[in-house]
Amino acid sequence: MAEVLVLVERSDGVVRKATLELLTLARRLGDPAALVCGAVDDATTALLGEYGATRVYVADDPELEEYLVAPKADVLVTAVRHAAPAAVLVTSGPEGTEVAARTAVRLESGIVTDAIDVTAGDGGPLVTQSVFSGSWTAQSQVVRGTPVITVRPNAVSPEAAPTQPAVEALPVQLTDAARGARVVGRTPKTGTGRPDLADAAVVVAGGRGMGSAEAFGMLERLADALGGAVAASRAATDLGWYGHDFQIGQTGKTVAPQLYLASGISGAIQHRAGMQGSRTIVAINKDPKAPIFGIADLGVVGDAHAVLPALITEVEKRKG
């Protein structure tokens, strides 16, 4: 069987859950092979093997960290030419999507982005997308070149399929063009200790109805009780109540967690575009006419300031 190349993403040195999801999907299409940009330790190789990677390609060069996406595209193109895979899978996101885009241009290959499902099909992988703000689904195929597919986090649950991967080093040769955009300053943010928004199984989000920045403390406590991440609507981030990088919606992030709990969010179409793929939606809002109730599995017409503290207590009690 041909290999299916998965671009590995790491956050603080740890392989992202979304990468394990890609390995799980890759098994439907061929033999999963993982491509890592940067040094690899035994634990990383073992983890990739646990999720079915039969081979781990390693492109290790410290320069890769200094630049944005272009060098990673160089590496991915090299890997595709070397391995001739049946398809390339990359996690959707600001970085992955652009690495995939550049790779597609260099290979003259078709690209399908933001897949919510990928299955084997006659003539190549069948890719399902949710389009037009989630109002339609489309199934597409790449008809020229090596299919390059970006997949939304949480499209599948990672499933283990242990193997012993072979490790193979790939040469890194950065083009001058790849060195064009250099990271000249980096201010790390204080870690929240919560999961990455894109990967989180539970997202607790607040909007204008929260009333203040301080009220987001309740959402953080609820998120911590549920092991989830905290997010905000554009209205709340524009008011400065929560960081813009936690904004859900058309101009922010798209998430599809197991549980999306929206508090004080009315649910305008631009917000829904970023969260309506969630498996279960719970909404708390004072306004019974809020559009969010039209898509919520459970809606509570009530004051978040009364419901949330009681809910935190209730969740903590039941977790024991």
């Binding site: 241009v105 003259e108 389009v131 109002s135 928004l197 813009h244 309506q276 459970l298």
Partner: protein, 259 residues
């Protein structure tokens, strides 16, 4: 300095979108507008010049006849002129085809800086700026939350979940901006009238020397096999809080195996 701003005419976000028989977006009878996300790029270009950057601004779009409306809106906000790439053969182009045509047009206009929005509000792929940069062989700085431009370079701030990065490139370069760069202006009546008098040039594929076989539905490297309207999410239970909402939500989470 020459700034080229990429803009797109998209359906209103609230429009009822549907597919045509050939699996492309059916735009007939759908109200369109300049993509909200492109307005931020237009605003940045116009304010760079207002702040003293010696530059001319040209807007570039590709699309059917009505795409000119997006150019006129941008010209009302500021800038000098616009180019509309219009050709029947473009219908159904994928991102590879679109970026190929835009690359030819940007080269022909001449550029030091290409600005775009962070995504279109219809296709939402966010791939065209990266593809364009690759085709032009210039650096890309995408998802800029703020930018500064000097004679020889551009520096952006990029806000990520784990860090804020400052990224620098020499010109020419391709930069995409987010809504964090600042509110887009509302053009005055006078500005709208001035915008109507600015030159809009129309180019065809022949003008650009692009082979029609490499674009459109036939030239696309991807094919849509099936489309279906997503069944609307069913509204579930709505309860009115009578002091028991927390218990009911917790019960629900347990029943859904979420707790």
């Amino acid at each position: 300095m020459k700034i080229v701003v990429l803009v797109k005419h998209v359906p209103e976000p609230t429009a009822a979108w549907r597919y045509a028989d050939d699996h492309t977006l059916d735009r007939t009878g759908v109200e369109g507008r300049l993509s909200e996300l492109d307005e931020y790029a237009v605003e940045q270009a116009v304010s760079l010049v207002e702040k003293g950057l010696p530059a001319t601004i040209t807007y570039l779009t590709m699309g059917p006849a009505r795409a000119v409306e997006a150019l006129r809106k941008a010209l009302a906000m500021g800038g000098d002129g616009a180019v509309h790439i219009s050709d029947e053969a473009l219908h159904g182009s994928d991102a590879l085809g679109t970026s190929l045509v835009l690359a030819h047009a940007v080269e022909r206009i001449g550029f030091d800086l290409v600005l775009s929005g962070m995504a279109s509000t219809d296709a939402e792929m966010s791939v065209v700026p990266a593809m364009l940069a690759d085709r032009l062989g210039v650096p890309q700085l995408t998802f800029a939350g703020a930018l500064t431009v000097t004679d020889d370079g551009v520096t952006i701030r990029r806000d990520g979940e784990t860090a804020t990065e400052e990224v620098r490139a020499s010109l020419p370069a391709v930069v995409s901006v987010t809504d964090q760069t600042g509110e887009a202006r509302y053009p005055s009546f006078k500005a709208i009238m001035a915008g109507k008098r600015k030159p809009v040039t129309t180019w065809t594929l022949a003008d650009l020397g692009v082979d029609p076989a490499s674009v459109g539905v036939a030239g696309a490297a991807t094919a849509v096999r099936a489309v279906a309207p997503q069944p609307p999410r069913q509204a579930g239970t709505v309860v009115i809080d009578e002091g028991d909402a927390a218990v009911r939500v917790a019960d629900f989470l347990v029943a859904q195996k979420l707790l």
